[in-house]
Amino acid sequence: MNGWLITALLVWLAAWGINEFLIRARTGNRTIRSAINIIVPVIFGVTLLVVWEGLVRGFSVPAVLLPPPSVIWQRIVASIPNPIWPDFQQTFLKSVLVGYAIGCGSAFVVAVAIDRSPFLKRGLLPVGNFVSALPLVGIAPIMVMWFGFDWQSKAAVVVVMTFFPMLVNTVAGLNATGAMEKDLMRTYAASYWQTLMKLRLPMAWPFIFNALKINSTLALIGAIVAEFFGTPVVGMGFRISAAIGRLQVDMVWAEIAIAAVAGSLFYGVIALIERAVTFWHPSMRGERAP
């Protein structure tokens, strides 16, 4: 029994050593460098799982409280076709993506719309902060009341959750333009739209991507939790809650694992797009300025 604990400890120490070694390894080779950048967190994650397995087994934690990763993995493999895939479709492909697109999209449009009115900006932003502080758990039942119990109401929750971060960041981004860059446009007698498209929008991308990244995790959490408040009998949040009630804790963790992977991938994709769009930003260059 304590063999598990000792194994966990040894694996952890070994992984720590390997990672320190990899990090310290100095090489000019770029492919090796980027490989190391991937391997190191993977080793860390695997270690985390091994330690988890070891602790759960070593201390004989009841499976209804916390199952070991191996059991969760078996559950995932067995349940992919049903119910994990339908749940994923319902929650991620419908609620999250639709809500995310509408929320971020409409916030962007509103930000551009109020951008011309300092009056609205000064009035709307503080009120926006106030509204975005409304707890999700409060909005979710209301959205179910308004939009019915299917995915539309979850998407609505996601819209509300993602709207204000996006609005605030976009407005901040549109204001980030330097005085001299703006003056340059003025000397060309450029129109409002020319200035927007050629100067202010490019300048705003780093801020906008910041919001898009924050929102990618918020959206998923929002959709899942919203399903605690009335749903059809499918969806990741529904499954998690129903499975806790039935003490199928392995299923709970299987869905959580899927959510974590999907969320991380979502975040990663946005980060990649960000890298491509804002390649010019100092934080992406990592070279010294001339």
Binding site: G178, M180, E181, D183, L184, M185, R186, T187, Y188, A189, A190, Q194, K198, L199, P202, T278, F279, W280, H281, P282, R285, E287, A289, P290
Partner: protein, 263 residues
Amino acid sequence: MTTHASVVEASGLGLTFETADGPVHALSDVNLTIGKGEFVSFIGPSGCGKTTFLRVIADLERPTAGTITVNGAAPGQARKDRAYGYVFQAPALYPWRTIERNVALPLEIMGHSRAEQQKRIARTLDMVNLSGFEKKYPWQLSGGMQQRASIARALAFDADLLLMDEPFGALDEIVRDHLNEQLLDLWAKTEKTICFVTHSIPEAVYLSTKIVVMSPRPGRVTDMIESTLPRERPLDIRETPQFLEIAARVREGLKAGHSYADQ
């Protein structure tokens, strides 16, 4: 427009910034006429209002006293006519555009065709010795190259009036000499009117037909020197007594308006 004798006419011009600490008199009672084809340098200690004056001409700042006309009308009209090119003190290149796209920016805005853009980019980049760097991004260039790219951008759309705020500040003597020659050449060929801010006395004397010496607190014109040098100026004109004499007068004017502790 080409029939106007004077391009810029300021009379009793004043500009006061209201700040939290009280008003700052950036310009006060400036009277100045710049004729077509003139090359006017502005020189003076830091904070004396050189940049502010250029910005007033460009309709980037509104005077609080006096009047100013550009091409015989309000500065705003000249701006809308895209009558001037402005080189800022800093390069102000857009980092997401390559050098070539940066130079193309005013051309895109003013609606030039693609082919026309290509031609002008090639011509102006060549003028500032940046051919071969079209596809680089600003951060891949040294400070001096960036500054030259911003000059190319101001030249690209061929405005009749050039407003240049310390364009050669970050360049070493040799490059500076070279660009001084190029600028004189361009000026001679095209009959442009140029307003030029600099800290360097030899540069001011070498380039200008008229040197305006300014002094701070409040910003005002303390001396105005019409150059007696010929229009044709080889680099070694700078060793002539005539040149040194003008330079000495500028230095005197500068010193008069100077005090270390407060600038």
